[in-house]
Structures are given as C-alpha cells and as structure tokens.
C-alpha cells in the first residue's frame, strides 16, 4: 500500500469520529478529536494494526489563547496520522490510552509532568524525568513557565533537600 | 637462649614473605601485560602493580556503615596470611619446600581456598547489594571448582602414592611431563586454577558490568591492597603447583621461571579468548564437565596403576 492508500484507510477507520480534518503535508492527515471520543478513535487503529503510536506531543497555545493541545502521532511507513485533542488550560484532562497501547505509559507520564494534563486512568502517575525535588504544580513546557537564570536555578526553585 | 633465625627468615624472606610478594607483583604485571598485548594494547609498566599496592596502602580506608569492623579489617589480613603460609609448602623457585609434612597438599589447597572464603565473607559482611551478590557468586564458584581442581591434583599424587607435595614433586622429576599422559588432568587443573583466581572468563563473581566489583566493592585502601596481594600470591602458588605436578617438576630456579611463565602465557591467552561465563554456566561447566573429566582421569590413573604395578 502506498502512502495515499494508507491515509485513506486511516480516515476510513476513524474519520467519522473526528470533528475536523486537515492535510498539512502530503503524507500527513490531522484529525481533530473531542477528548471524550479519543478512545473510540484509537481503538479501531489498534485493532486494525494501523501503524504504531510514534509519539504523543503536548502543545501549549499560550495563556491568551487558553488552550492546550495533545497530539497523538500514529505512523505507518511514510504516513502519519495525527489525532489532535484540544483542551482548556484550566484542569485539562484526557482519557488514558494505556488500556489500548500499554507502552504509551511513558508518553502520558511525560504529558502529565510537563504540561499538567491529567491522563484519566493511566496506570502510573509518578514523577518521570523531572528531579525528585521539582516543585509540584510547575510545568516547565507550558509557555508561562519562564526558565530562571541559570546560576541561581537550584535556589530559586526553593527545593533544596 | 639462642633464637633460631632460619624459620623466621624462611617465613619472612624466602620462600615466604617478601619473595612471594615480589613474585606475585611481577606475575600480575606479566599477566596484565600479556592480556593487554593479546588485546592489541600496550599494557602496564613493570612497576605498575607495585605502585598500585603502595598507593592503596597509603589511601584512606573507609569502613562503611553496616559492617562488623573487626571482620572488615581482619579478613584481608587472614586471607593474605593464609596464602603466604601456603607458600611454605610449595617448591618455590625449584628448591625444596621450606616445610614438608604428609598431607600438605590438602593443607595447601585449603589455604588457597581460604583466600576465596575470606573474600566471600568480606562481601557478605557489608550491607552493599553488589557485595552480597558478589559474595554469593564467589562462594558458589568456590564450591564448584574446588573439587575438580583437587581431583586433578590428586592424579599425580596417586601415582606417587603420597599426599605430600615434595614427594609427589620428586616422583615426577626427570620423568616424562605428566601433562602428556594426563592431558585431561592438566586441562582441568589449569581451568580450575583460573576459576580459583576468578580470572576471565570465570570472573562472574566480580563481573564489572553487573555487580561493579563484586565482594570487594566496598573495600578501599589497605583492605583492597591486601586482597589484591593475596590474589597475586595465589596466582604464583597455583601456577607453581600445577607446573610442579604436571610439567615435569621444577629442578632449578631457571626451570621454575621457564615453566611457570609458560603456564602464565597459556592462562593469559585463555583469559583473552572467551566471553565471561554466567555463574550458572560456570557451575554447570564444573559439575557436568570438569568434575566428570577429573574423575575419568582419576579412574584411568587408578586403573593404570593397578595394571602396571
């Protein structure tokens, strides 16, 4: 199957559950999905063995815009299908896909830690790769997190053990 | 009352004490150098083992938490003292052993085993997990190679009708090398020696990539230096013993040097040739193949002896 056929197959599998569809590049299709319908979209992909979950990207559109976005990238050969889930900045939450794709636990833990997005039902919610003394409630990849000046970093975080 | 100075000299200078220590450091150098050359490297300088030892002796000795300090400090001393004592029964440099008594073969093998036992206990003494696993492995390995090694040494002893090293040694002198008619026994003895000294590929007890430095992980400074010295001396003694039994005896210092060094080259080559065996593979190898081979050799010797004599 070539890339177009693969993408057509993907759209056929999940297209009707998406609220919007766009083609940013010839080998990519983006589908906007409501948070509540995410699992409905992932399930047919997993069942049809359409590609593998290559990455989960978190995006912060900034405090003005007031939205966070989670991108689930599925890759099959050259084709990339992205499920985009738009979330409010306040109390963002997505359902966990770990039930369908166990190895997604890493991606979800990163998401929780870096953006403060709750993955409902994810098996493991512990710290991933921020240090143990990192302050709670500070999410470094959000746009309103400003990196403290380098030399004072450990003190400013007020996190001396 | 006059003090007999001879035994003290024997114990402190030759063949025990200083001579053994110096030979141990020299042989460690040769071993490391040969392995390095086999691996295409330049290798260490002559005085390297000496410098390592002096440096370790001059270093701070950290006594970690959770150990019994008395054991922590005394085990290396006991280990080194044990192997140095073993040196008194062995025909060092081709000369007659300093002391000789019936059954000293067993004593010697026991004293060499004492070193391993001390290392194992030293590992078990610390709270460090790597040391504990290392200690378990050291002791497991001790139980696996000790029997075949002893059996392999018994073959010439049975031929000589004695368990006294000097008698066995005299009986093989001038005869054809035992390694030729008793190739299996020789093979088991050399491999057993490598297992005893925890040389590659039998270095699972101190496998760096799994358990850091095994039982000795927590040792620093003096303790480490003494254990290393103990191992060096054990290397010399083991090689001498095998050469004396299997390579036609050691008639004079020159023969001693040539034969032991020849054996050292063989041991170094074997070290460079193989990947490390897992501990279960080591044990399996010893009990399934090593012990069996040694028994077969022993059987052959006993049968032959019965037929000929």
């Amino acid at each position: 199957m070539n890339t177009e056929e693969l993408l057509a197959q993907a759209v056929q599998l999940v297209g009707d559950r998406a609220s919007a569809q766009s083609v940013p590049e010839p080998n990519r299709i983006d589908l906007a999905v409501e948070p509540g319908r995410l699992l409905e979209c992932v399930q047919p992909l997993v069942e049809a063995h359409w590609g593998y979950l290559s990455a989960v990207t978190g995006l912060d559109h900034g405090p003005q815009d007031g939205h966070l976005e989670v991108l689930y990238h599925f890759c099959q050969k050259a084709a990339v299908l992205t499920l985009r889930v738009m979330l409010p900045r306040e109390a963002p939450a997505v359902p966990s896909v770990c039930g369908l794709i166990p190895s997604a636990t890493l991606f979800e833990r990163e998401l929780m830690e870096m953006f403060g997005i709750t993955c409902e039902g994810t098996p493991d919610t512990r710290r991933l790769f921020l240090s143990d003394d990192w302050p709670a409630g500070v999410y470094p990849l959000r746009k309103d997190y400003i990196v403290p000046t380098q030399t004072k970093a450990p003190e400013e975080k007020g996190s001396q053990p | 009352m006059s003090i007999d100075i001879a035994p003290i000299l024997k114990m402190l200078v030759f063949p025990g004490g200083l001579t053994l220590l110096a030979l141990g450091l020299l042989y460690e150098y040769i071993d490391r150098k040969l392995v390095a050359r086999f691996q295409n490297r330049v290798g260490p300088r002559v005085l390297q083992p000496l410098a390592d030892t002096i440096k370790l002796l001059a270093k701070e000795e950290v006594i970690p938490q959770g150990v019994i300090p008395l054991f922590f400090v005394s085990l290396p001393v006991v280990a080194l003292a044990g192997v140095l004592t073993a040196g008194l029964y062995i025909p060092m440099a081709g000369l007659a052993p300093a002391y000789s008594l019936p059954g000293d073969l067993i004593i010697t093998v026991f004293l060499l085993g004492l070193l391993t036992l001390c290392i194992g206990l030293a590992g078990a003494n610390t709270a460090d997990r790597f040391s504990l696993v290392g200690a378990t492995r050291t002791l497991t390995q001790l139980f696996s190679y000790e029997a075949p090694f002893l059996l392999a040494l018994l073959c010439p002893a049975i031929l000589a009708d004695s368990w006294q090293i000097s008698v066995v040694h005299r009986s093989v002198l001038g005869h054809v090398w035992m390694a030729l008619p008793m190739a299996i026994g020789f093979f088991v003895a050399v491999i057993g020696l490598m297992g005893k000294l925890e040389l590659a590929p039998f270095d699972a007890p101190e496998a760096e990539s799994e358990i850091v430095a095994g039982a000795l992980t927590e040792y620093s400074g003096r303790g480490l230096a003494l254990f290393r010295l103990g191992k060096d001396v054990a290397l010399v003694l083991g090689i001498t013993l095998v050469a004396a039994f299997y390579l036609g005896g050691l008639a004079n210092p020159l023969e001693f040097l040539l034969k032991t060094l020849g054996l050292l080259v063989l041991v170094a080559a074997l070290q460079a040739l193989f990947a490390r065996l897992r501990i279960d593979q080591t044990v399996g190898l010893w009990w399934r193949i090593g012990a069996l081979l040694a028994l077969v050799q022993l059987l052959i010797v006993v049968l032959l002896k019965g037929v000929i004599l």
Partner: protein, 163 residues
Amino acid sequence: MSDVPAGLPKPWTKMLEALKSWSRIYSPWAIHFNSGSCNGCDIEILATLTPRYDVERFGIKLQGSPRHADVLICTGPVTLQARDRLRRVYDQMPDPKFVIAVGSCATSGGVFQGCYNVVGGIDQVIPVDAFVPGCPPRPEAIIDGVVKLLQSLKEKQVAEKTE
C-alpha cells in the same frame, strides 16, 4: 595508615612521602560519572581505554566502584536529578581524591546553559582540580588532562618541600 608515623627520623619520612607521591602519580585509578552529558565525552573517555590510546600504559584504570578510585572523571552539565548522586559518589571516594571535568558542559554548562533542569558546570557541586575543554575533547586531550593533574601534584609536593 595514610599518615606517616610521626616518630620516624626525618630522612625516612621524606622517603616515605616521596614513595607515596610516586605511587599516586604512577597509579591513578579513575571512575567515570555522567551527570547529564550527551554521550559525546563518554564515548571518548571509553575510547581512551582502547588499543589506540590505551591508558593502562600510564597506569590509569577505569574502576567501577567509587571506593577504589582516586580520580573522578565527570562529564556533562549537572542536572537537578544527578546533583545529589554526583555529590554522593564524590563523598564515597576515599581520600586523597581528585576531580576532572571533561568537556565544555562539565566546565561551564556549555550549550545547555539556561535549560531549566541544568545547574551548571561540575564546579557548582563539587571542587574540581582540572578542566578539559572541548566538545567533546579528543581522547588525547582527556589523557593530557589526567597527566597535567598528576604533574601538578608533583609540583605541589616540590613546592611544599622548598617551603
């Protein structure tokens, strides 16, 4: 054990001191700690062990246990998570001990300056005796760093003698 007994006559003390410092320079055992490096320096440190560079001819041996080591070779900027580990490894080493910071990142934080999880160079956490700059430094430079450090020990000793 590390101190020469005070009761010995002076020439003896001197000789023992000289012997100690000789052995220290002749036999530097090293341990390697990566506190956040990109691997570039680490593979170059590993390369120093291999036939082309072979540091064993200088008596340098890479050890696994901090208890056995004299020289701590650090690579990479210090990350928040590695900071305490670095300090602990340093504390576990018996005296006398030395630290070499290998690479630009270990020296100053390098290209990672300003990243939120980076504290800075190694010297922010533990005292450093020698810096080897480069991204990554060549294996020759790393060996040179160790040799220079040892040379400085000798000079220090000479200076103490003349005092």
